[in-house]
Amino acid sequence: MRKQQTFSIFTGILRRDLKLAVRAPSQWINPLLFFLIAVSLFPLGVGPEQNMLREIAPGVIWVAALLAAMLAQDSLFRADFEDGSLEQMLISSRPMSMIIMAKVLAHWLVTGLPLIVLSPVLSILMGLSLVGWWALLLTLLLGTPILSLLGAVGAALVVSVKRGGVLLSLLVLPLCIPVLIFATAVVQTAGVGLAIEGQVSLLGALLALSVTLSPIAIAGALRVTGGAA
């Protein structure tokens, strides 16, 4: 019975947030457009030479994904904070970690997953090979949830700060550097035809670590900042 209840809060919040995302789509479509535009600026900035583009593609795509994630993450708790829904979650006796995981998952489904769906287009734009695209897909699949979780920690910390979006990036971007390093290395290594299992497993370890530890930090941060009037 208890287990079922715990599950019901997870699915309930998940459905609520997805419903809200469908009804107010600009919040997740805009960061996605930003991602697309940011990547297409690079060929214009450095020139259309295919080999050079292919070389910088992993870095460019991942840096753009990082910035887009920061833009999107600001809205994760802010709307709930402003209309008082967050208060109701904080004074609920249901497990806070479940509420948080449901919210982060819903948010990833509308902000992280579309990046993965867009990845073939980006690979073509940046001249990546098929192998490179597969590697990119794999890193986005493992890496964007980490960005969502780290971003959620930042979003929880700055939720009561007016116009906290830039501050969120200041706090979280340095923490995202390991993801950037390992993910781009995977795509580069795959590009030259070497084995990528090692780096991929490092990314997987980072994901496991952030899934376990971030909810604690997010819940703690929300209890500190989310109650502010």
Partner: protein, 186 residues
């Protein structure tokens, strides 16, 4: 200041704007830490007994906790999920008792201020919470709705519940005994 609330008691907090009514209520709900002192529930500080305390607490604050993009019914369903003990009152019945049954499938952004406040107050009916904390529950309501809410509060007290609320008005709580604390401008 210090006060105690027992089962079947109603405490009304009154005071000028800025005298700290809302802050007091938020402190009681454990949303903001007290500068000094503590809030106890069944003789234990609430921080040490979050689960037990929150499962008995229902709060309608200054910010209503209602999503504009959800319908009235969808909003209440979320309240049901968040409640530790959902009551046997259905969403439809709860909204009906507050007189907004007919707009349950309307998005909350289309509702008036008074209707939205009633959606928030309907939260009290969908969960079995012992302790109600209400911040200015009557401000945007018309005469009839005020009557309804006062009756609800009166019934809750009569059934052994506890209510802590802020209001400027002198109110008739269906003959239930109540105390009033006036906060001064500190």
């Amino acid at each position: 200041m210090s006060f105690e609330l027992k089962s079947g008691e109603l405490l009304q907090i009154d005071g000028a704007n800025g005298s700290g009514k809302t802050t007091l209520l938020r402190t009681v709900c454990g949303l903001v830490p007290a500068d000094e002192g503590n809030v106890y529930w069944c003789n234990r500080p609430i921080q040490q007994n979050r689960q037990g305390y929150f499962s008995q607490l229902a709060f309608v604050g200054h910010k209503h906790g209602i999503k504009d993009e959800l319908t009235a019914a969808e909003n209440l369903e979320i309240d049901q999920i968040l409640a530790a003990n959902p009551s046997s009152v259905s969403v439809r019945e709860a909204l009906g008792r507050l007189g907004i049954g007919e707009c349950r499938h309307q998005l909350c952004r289309e509702l008036s201020a008074g209707q939205r406040q009633r959606v928030a107050l309907a939260r009290l009916l969908v969960s079995i919470a012992h302790f109600w904390v209400l911040d200015e529950p009557l401000t945007a309501l018309d005469q009839e709705a005020q009557r309804t809410v006062c009756d609800l509060v009166g019934q809750h007290i009569a059934a052994g519940g506890m209510v802590l609320l802020t209001s400027h008005q002198k109110l008739d709580w269906s003959g239930q005994a109540h105390r009033i604390i006036k906060l001064g401008n500190a």
